[in-house]
């Protein structure tokens, strides 16, 4: 005779338990979705030859040295780069610039100096470099023109005529 009442009570209690617990998932789901991109960098699609950014083989075919551009590049580098980089092969905070245009493709260099953060997160060689230098190369907010001018100075520095 008492059994039915017990069943009803249990059912009520269980329903309430579920009702109470039901509020949680919505917010925790929201959190997973919003994990910052930089923390879940996907290296699988990364091309270490090209780097990541707007430059590729198609838009970086450069001919003879443009001394005017290189001069401007040296001036900008004086403000934005030479605190950490020497023009020799000696490492200061970051590696020296000597020979960089022989070691790297033009588009890799241009991508790296205009878009450093994603490449520091993904590029195996840059990550190895970071273990040596311990300072992430700052994004110095170079305009396209400034990047091009600095690259021209790097070529001049490496003896391009």
């Amino acid at each position: 005779m008492k059994q039915p009442i017990f069943t009803v009570l249990t059912a009520v209690a269980l329903t309430m338990l579920m009702a109470c617990g039901g509020q949680e998932p919505a917010s925790s789901e929201g959190q997973t979705k919003n994990a910052p991109k930089s923390m879940v960098a996907d290296a699988s699609s990364y091309d270490p030859k090209r780097g990541e950014g707007k430059y590729n083989a198609g838009n970086t075919a450069f001919g003879a040295l443009d001394a005017g551009l290189a001069g401007k590049g040296e001036a900008i580098a004086g403000t934005k780069c030479f605190s950490c980089h020497k023009t020799t092969d000696e490492r200061l905070v970051g590696p020296g610039w000597k020979g960089v245009t022989a070691r790297r493709q033009p588009y890799w260099i241009l991508n790296f100096i205009t878009n450093p953060d994603p490449m520091i997160d993904k590029d195996p060689e840059v990550q190895a470099q970071l273990e040596l230098c311990l300072v992430r190369m700052p994004n110095q907010n170079l305009s396209d023109d400034e990047a091009r001018q600095i690259f021209e100075f790097m070529r001049k520095n490496d003896g391009t005529k």
Partner: protein, 679 residues
């Protein structure tokens, strides 16, 4: 049966009874646990709030920016809503060693006044700039209640861009309220005082003869934001409290609450509460402009500071100005009208349509609502009750739309939702009361914890409020949070007002003492062209160092100027010798970084000064006067990289007259100079 057997038998019985009951107990237990646990969803909400509505997940942004006055901290704080996250404290009228505000050479002029450098003030109210009666996201204005001043904070940088002092004033309380296009920001004196060009050395009890009120109309350049005192209204000596502009149909008018029409000069608590009614002063500022154009203004000799920040040179400058144009409203009859308002009115708030003016007599048990249309008719038909010191007093009933009866005790401030409702704070009965403007009936009320002062609804003083939330800024905290000794943070409560009933959803502590605050949708502020860095190429600071190659140390007499750069993670130069006792050293530090959120700090041992916090691309100067011979370390105070702790250097200080040459370097050891020359 032995006694032992009896015990065993009894235990068996008990066991059976318990086991029989277990399912029942279990069910009842679960019920007992569940019932209170579920309760907050329903009845418990009223007392407990619904915190989930204020929850903003980690990494997610708030819906609104909330610009909150810091009261006696002198600063303005910026909160996110609905989370109540403190996003930033913007230094305005008080020095802030954390940010170098008032300590760096560049910022010192910003706190200059006709009294000299003033390191503190009391910031009471904020006002966001408007276009066509809607928030435009450009600037926030703020008032200094002690040494009367007005500040403009630029929302592209979240920095104080301008501060102007107000002559002829004693306590700028009735401020910084603005017109619909921020044509003017007003500044009404709280204390009437003898005018600056009059003799102030008079007996205090000559208030009635010698004390005058002044209200400044400060014009704002719509492009640059630059402020200038366009004119002042000279009024009878009373206390001006708060103000609101007319909007839409009443654009061109301004309304000021005033108390102490008794003109008492002592024990105002009693003596300024004698009259049944004080006034709301209606000002026809378009008419005042006409008089100004017609040359009716009088040029008065005064002295006030006008301080401006230059974004290109990263420096402030201070100019002392000496003249202001004054219109005397007892001579120019049709600028001002007094509307009687019960019992020392505090808040004076105009609804989004511009028709209704709500006066909050802080000692009254009702809220009078005045009609702009009726006021115009009353003025046209001269429905006056005589004059007060030469200014017409409109008949109370002639301007009155109606009264909210028995709304609560101690009404202070009213904000609007744009849906026909007004929300009034009640200090004495500690509650927010929602009432309908048309029928003047109370619709809802909620308690505050405790003794609420100002209220804020995003856009609540504009033509188009965003009526999702209401914040109550309280004057008393008591037991609201964990106790922290005798001195407590002040409390604010956030209410969801999207439904019929107001619902408390968050309770958060605030800095200083918040008075008025304003809020705006986040998109309006974050998409306003906010800066992330200062472009180093555009830095026009006279002591900028654009690259390490330019870094140097220059002696000019006993002044030593250090042109220094900072980048992750070193200074250049970081070794300096040849500084002598008696020298004044100026470190001009340029942060060469060009990435968002990479400031560098700077501090030097023994400096009777603060730190510097230098944003990317900015140049900032710290003055240091060494007080002894020896070795002084300097370092970066803002953790900037994994090698931040390496970001340091030394300055060698030699005795006066020493022959240690001035030298500086980074990365190379100088040839050994004499070890000590003070023998």
């Amino acid at each position: 049966m032995s006694s032992n057997d009896f015990i065993i038998h009894k235990q068996r019985n008990m066991k059976r009874t318990i086991s029989h009951c277990v399912p029942w107990l279990g069910a009842i237990l679960i019920l007992a646990i569940c019932l209170p646990a579920c309760k907050p969803k329903n009845a418990g909400n009223v007392a407990m709030g619904d915190a989930s509505k204020a929850y903003v997940p980690p990494g997610k942004h708030d819906e609104f920016y909330n610009f909150v006055s810091g009261g006696f901290s002198g600063q303005m704080s910026v909160y996110g809503l609905p989370s109540g996250r403190l996003l930033r404290v913007v230094p305005v009228f008080s020095v802030d060693p954390e940010k170098g505000w008032g300590y760096s050479e560049e910022t010192k002029p910003m706190l200059n006044t006709s009294h000299g450098f003033v390191p503190w003030d009391d910031l009471h109210h904020t006002e966001m700039s408007q276009t066509n009666g809607e928030i435009n996201g450009k600037w926030v204005f703020a008032n200094a209640n002690n040494t009367p001043r007005l500040a403009r904070i630029d929302l592209k940088t979240f920095r104080t861009a301008e501060i102007i002092e107000l002559p002829n004033s004693g306590g700028n309380h009735s401020s910084p309220f603005g017109t619909e296009n921020s044509e003017y920001i007003v500044a009404g004196t709280r204390f009437s005082v003898p005018a600056d060009d009059a003799n102030g050395d008079v007996p205090i009890n000559t208030y009635k003869e010698n004390f005058k009120g002044h209200i400044s109309f400060v014009s704002v350049n719509q492009e640059s934001g630059e402020m200038n005192i366009a004119f002042q209204l000279k009024t009878p000596g009373v206390n001006f409290d708060l103000a609101r502009c007319g909007r839409a149909k009443s654009h061109g008018w301004f309304f000021f609450s005033c108390y102490n029409t008794e003109q008492a000069n002592t024990l105002l608590e009693v003596n300024a509460s004698q009259r049944d009614k004080d006034f709301i002063m209606a000002v026809n500022w378009k008419k005042a402009e006409e008089y100004l154009k017609a040359g009716k203004g009088k040029k008065v000799k005064v002295k006030y500071a006008h301080n401006k920040w230059n974004e290109a040179t990263h420096s402030g400058s201070s100019t002392i100005k000496t003249e202001v144009t004054v219109l005397d409203v007892s001579e120019l009859k049709d600028i001002c009208y007094f509307i009687p308002c019960p019992k020392s009115p505090h808040g004076c708030d105009v609804d989004p349509t511009g028709e209704f003016i709500v006066g909050s007599g802080k000692l009254a048990a009702l809220i009078p609502v005045f009609s702009f249309d009726k006021l115009q008719q009353a003025i046209a038909s001269k429905a006056y009750d005589g004059e007060y010191e030469g200014i017409p007093v409109v008949k109370y009933e002639a301007a009155l739309y109606g009264e909210v009866q028995k709304p609560g005790l101690g009404p202070l401030h009213t904000e609007f939702d744009g849906k026909g409702n007004a929300y009034t704070s009640f200090f004495v009965s500690s509650e927010v009361v929602k009432w309908n403007i048309k029928d003047l009936k109370v619709v809802d009320r909620v308690p505050t914890y405790y003794s609420v002062g100002h209220l804020c609804i995003p856009g609540g003083n504009t033509r188009k409020p965003s009526p999702k939330y209401l914040i109550a800024y309280n004057k008393i905290t008591k037991d609201r949070y964990l106790p922290t000794g005798p001195e407590l943070a002040q409390s604010a409560q956030l209410y969801d007002i999207s439904g019929d009933k107001m619902q408390m959803i968050l309770d958060f502590p605030t800095i200083g003492e918040p008075h008025y605050a304003q809020a705006a949708p986040a998109d309006l502020i974050k998409n306003n062209g906010q800066l992330k860095i200062f472009k180093i190429g555009e830095n026009k600071h006279p002591y900028v160092t654009k690259g390490e190659a330019e870094s140097k140390v220059v002696r000019q007499g006993n002044q030593v100027h250090v042109y220094m750069t900072s980048i992750r993670s070193h200074f250049a130069p970081d070794n300096i010798e040849g500084v002598k006792l008696g020298d004044e050293v100026y470190f001009h530090i340029t942060n060469l970084e060009q990435d968002w959120d990479v400031p560098h700090g700077f501090a030097v041992k023994g400096a009777a000064n603060a730190e510097l916090l230098i944003m990317p691309g900015e140049t900032t100067t710290l003055k240091w006067v060494p007080d002894r011979v020896g070795m002084f370390p300097m370092y970066c105070t803002d953790f900037c990289s994994a090698l931040h702790q390496e970001m340091q250097g030394y300055i060698r200080v030699s005795p006066a007259g020493s022959n240690v040459p001035l030298s500086f370097s980074v990365g190379t050891n100088q040839p050994k100079a004499p070890a000590a020359t003070n023998k």
